[in-house]
Structure formats: structure tokens, C-alpha cells
Point group: C2
């Protein structure tokens, strides 16, 4: 095998749009990067069928047959134990056991992926609960990593401090930011603002070594670019992520309607412009932090473009040869 | 005094833009509605100066001289006690003591307004902590009341149930909705989703009489129109409000930039269209729920249009002769 080649495991099952979309996105990613090998994990017959007509370079395609699927209706822990032939279990095992496998993308059950990542990819002696980071475009043209966006719903201050470290490492690795600015999501910029969790975390982050803490950030400025890492519990982070997404989608839909109603179809140019920045679906998925190899949770409704972008993101990470945990954790 | 006339107290101090903007907005509201009397509370000299050139119908203007101001830097409770000559204290006293005074608008310290509302306007024997409701335009063309948006940051489930009742009453009164649909903000639509607070509240709302509970609502659909009242703790509600506002403003700014860059100034029509729906600043303020007379907290940076709209909102409420508390509370 060519030494520059990097393999990414792609779980073809569990997504809303079905295996064909996932396979199509993976084939597009193969065209993008000649060093990529995709390891498609799922039902062999379904994958074979999906590969047809995609002109995939078959010397860079591996298939692991896994006829079973873990769905959103399965209990994560039970499913991981009771479905050894599921695509997720086989993909996680491949990622853990094969040194040439550098990352995993999955668009299925978030819970199962998080628990599975912890079960298969914790560093020895470590049981950090993984966090989910979404990297969103900020107003100044850069990116902000929102940590956590939904893996940890009820948090302690120490967990938010952990998110600060994981987010810092992520932005150092991915964007080569020397000292990423860490903001704490709150209901006001003033130090006195926040719920109990935020106030206690604020005090801890002020003193925490290795963290470039810039203070509280309110919702209005969550994605203004005032920080590189936005720390929050998974509930609040999920609000920021989904409210932003919902609002962007709504304004875009509103312009489409306005264009149709007024008959001025040139307004669709505005829509296309906005879609290029604000189509969260195509941005790539949320990154699982705190595990030994890069794992990305793609949107359940991810389209081909999103799968393609997510694989691209994983390739970047793998080429940086970084794992997204603190070495000293 | 004409029997149809309704007086609204307007605190001219404490806003970011100064008394002249507040007075200007009030004068515009006087033009809108011939039954409105405004009671301008603040420094007499400053108000006299601000009134010049606004063509105010002086028979419908009252002035209460209050030379002192409560600012965002003041401790709310201490300021209310130690600044008897402040505009907020005088305005609250006027609202409490004068039966012809039907409402109050203030663009200053939220904390002082909330504590003051509780001190001056609680119903006898009642000490409900007031909640702040923001009424936001929903995607289907209606409105959604988000309760609470920041008055109560650390909440118990019983408080969220109280918000559900207050919001229900508000939407019945303001929009004549017979049985307002109440949604609970969560990180997923499924019943199993939510932090501890949301899960416990969900169980209570399911059984609560007088509440038309439609289940969990996630951030993406917070303002889709899937509910008339969105119940949440003040921290999460503040996130939804401010993230929506920030995102809408950002997309609009982005279109302006795109129009300028491409030289296609016709795109500004799209901007104007969106501004009419999404300019949160002009939507009117947040309503203080749980007090005996309508009180509205205007945005600190409220412009004339916002003050004008907020007074219009208060007039509607006063003309409905409704107070926004449950009678059986």
C-alpha cells in the first residue's frame, strides 16, 4: 500500500437518506483526493449496488460486510453489545484494530456513536466522556468550535473546563491557531452573568493554565468570531447550533419565497451566495473529542456533499496526524 | 379627561441612546393613537428640550420630574431603595398609584425593572418572581411567546410550569388564541431528550390542567410556529432570543455586503423585506409577566421605532383591559 494513502472508515448505515447517498459522497471524496482509501462498512450487496455508476477507483475501496444496523430507536449500550454484526460495531473495531485506518464517519445514532467511541477508542486508563464539537463559520470569515453541542446534557463545571482544553487542542491542530481564544456561552457578556454552572466555570477558566480565556460570550455574538472555541454544556450548545441553523434556513427560505412572489429570480443569486456559507448540512459533521482517533458524526440527513466534505475534514485531520485529546489528560 | 384615553408611563432614562430617542418615539406613538396620553418620567429640563421640534400634542403629554437615573451598573435592590428620585422608582409608583396609568415602558436595567415590578406591582399576598416574555415572529406568519428570556436564570420545574401558564394567558389575551399550544424547549423533539430540568418539567406539563402541551421543541423549530408559547429557563430562552437575533442580523449584513460588492443594489430590496420581519429591535420589548399591570422592557439600544411599537403594544394590552397574571394563582 502506498505510504501516503490514508484509510477512512465510512459507516454506510443508519442515516436518514440511506446507504446510496453515503456511498455516493464517499465516491466523490475519492475523486477529490488520490491518497484516500475508503472502507465502506455495511451490507455488501447494498454497497455493491450503490457503487454502480459512481466510477469509483476500486483499488481504493474496501468493503467490510456488516448486515446489521444500529438505529436511533436502539438503546446505545445494549445495541453495541447485542449487534456485533452492525456496521457501527464493525467500523469501530476496524478503527481501533487497523493502524492504517485513520478515522470514522457515521450519520446514524449519536448516542451509539458516542458510547461506542468511548468503548472502543478511549485511551488506556482513561474514561473521559466524549464531547461533540461543531465547527461553524464565524462572522469574520473564520471558524468557531462549539463544544459541547449535545453529547453531555447535564454538566459539571469540570466538564466545561475539559471542553475548553479539547476545543483548544482541536483549533490548534486544525487551523494552526497558536493560542485559541476560549469564550464561555452566557446570557450576558458581563462576568456576573450566567447560570450557576456558567458562573462556577467562569471562575475556573480564569485560572486554568493553557486556556486563553476571553470571558463570557452571549448568544448574539456566539458566532461573531469573538472566540475560536465556545464552551457550553451540551444543552445550551445544541440550542446555539440548532437555533442558528434554523434561523439561517428560515431567512434563506424567506428570500426564495420573496423571489418567486416578486418574480425577480435574480434574487436567487443571493440565496446561492448565502447557501455557500450557511448550509450547515454541507459543512461537515460534529467531531467527537476525547477519543484516540478522529471520529465524525455527520448530520442524520447528510447529503452527498456533506459526506464528501466530512471525509475531506477527516483526511485533513489524519494528514495532520493529530488525535484530539490532550496528551497530559 | 376623556374616558377612552389611556395613559402610558415612559421612563425616559437608562437607555443606551438617551432620553431624546425615547421622547421622539413617544411623540410618534402620540400621532398614531389619539387616545394615548404619555407620562414622560425623567429630568424635566432634558424632556422639555427633547420635546422641541416633535410637534407633540401637549394636552396629551404629562411630565414627572425625576432627576436621578438607575443604571446597569447599579445593584437593582439597593438602587430602588436608595434612589427615590430616579425615573424608574417614580414611574413604578405612578403605575401603582394612578388608576388611569395603564402600563410602563423602560429601556434601562432589566434587573432593576424586574425587582421593581415585583416590589411595586405584585398582587396582594403574591410574590411570584416575574418572568420575561419575548413575542417573536414565527415562520408560519404568527407569533411565538418565548418565556422566560432571561429574568430567571436558574429555574426549578415548578417555575417552568408557571411560565407555561403565564404564556398561555398572554397569548389568549393578546392574540385571542383559544387554547395556545405550549412547547418545551429541548435538545430534541423526543420525550426522552432534555436536561434534568426539562425532563422533570415535561412530566409535569403533560399532566398540568389548563395547559395545551404539545411536547418538546428543538432549537431548529423554536420559531417555526409549532407552538404559541415556548417554555424554557431564562438562560436557554436568552440563547434562543439572542442567537436568533444575531443570526438574522448577520445574514442581513451579509446580503448588504454582497449587494455592495456585486454592485447590484436591487438586492437591497431583499434586505428591506427581511428587515421588516426580522428587525428584533423594532419588534417591541419583552413583557414582564406575573405583575398586576403591563410592564415592558424595551431593548437597551431601542430606537424611536422600537419605542413607538412598544407603546403601541402596551396600548393594545390596556385596551384589552387585561393584566397578565393567572386569576387563580
Amino acid at each position: 500500500m502506498d505510504n501516503n494513502r490514508i484509510m477512512i472508515a465510512v459507516d454506510t448505515q443508519g442515516s436518514d437518506k440511506g446507504p446510496a447517498t453515503i456511498v455516493k459522497g464517499a465516491c466523490q471524496a475519492l475523486q477529490d483526493n488520490g491518497n484516500l482509501i475508503v472502507c465502506l462498512v455495511g451490507d455488501q450487496t447494498v454497497i455493491d449496488e450503490a457503487l454502480k455508476g459512481n466510477n469509483a477507483p476500486m483499488d481504493r475501496v474496501r468493503i467490510i460486510h456488516a448486515p446489521d444496523t444500529i438505529t436511533n430507536y436502539d438503546h446505545p449500550v445494549q445495541a453495541l453489545q447485542r449487534k456485533p454484526d452492525s456496521s457501527l460495531v464493525k467500523a469501530l473495531a476496524e478503527l481501533r484494530d487497523d493502524p492504517s485506518c485513520a478515522g470514522l464517519i457515521n450519520a446514524g445514532s449519536t448516542g451509539a456513536l458516542l458510547v461506542g467511541s468511548m468503548m472502543y477508542l478511549s485511551k488506556p486508563g482513561e474514561r473521559v466522556r466524549p464531547a461533540l464539537a461543531a465547527i461553524l463559520p464565524s462572522e469574520n470569515g473564520g471558524f468557531t468550535a462549539v463544544v459541547d453541542t449535545g453529547a453531555n446534557i447535564d454538566c459539571m463545571p469540570s466538564m466545561l473546563v475539559q471542553f475548553a482544553h479539547q476545543g483548544t487542542q482541536l483549533m490548534k491542530d486544525m487551523y494552526k491557531i497558536e493560542s485559541p481564544r476560549v469564550g464561555l456561552l452566557s446570557n450576558g457578556a458581563e462576568e456576573s452573568k450566567g447560570n450557576k454552572l456558567v458562573k462556577e466555570t467562569h471562575e475556573m477558566l480564569k485560572k486554568e493554565e493553557g486556556i486563553n480565556f476571553v470571558g463570557n460570550i452571549e448568544g448574539t455574538n456566539a458566532l461573531s468570531g469573538d472566540c475560536d472555541v465556545l464552551v457550553c454544556d451540551g444543552f445550551a450548545g445544541n440550542m446555539v447550533l440548532k437555533t442558528s441553523e434554523g434561523m439561517a434556513r428560515r431567512l434563506i427560505k424567506d428570500i426564495v419565497k420573496y423571489a418567486k412572489k416578486s418574480g425577480k429570480m435574480e434574487y436567487m443569486e443571493v440565496v446561492n451566495h448565502l447557501m455557500a456559507v450557511y448550509d450547515f448540512n454541507s459543512l461537515g459533521g460534529a467531531i467527537v473529542l476525547g477519543v484516540s482517533k478522529p471520529v465524525i458524526k455527520a448530520h442524520g440527513a447528510a447529503n452527498e456533499a456533506s459526506i464528501r466534505n466530512t471525509i475531506k475534514m477527516l483526511m485533513n485531520m489524519a494528514e495532520n496526524k493529530k488525535v484530539f485529546v490532550r496528551e497530559d489528560n
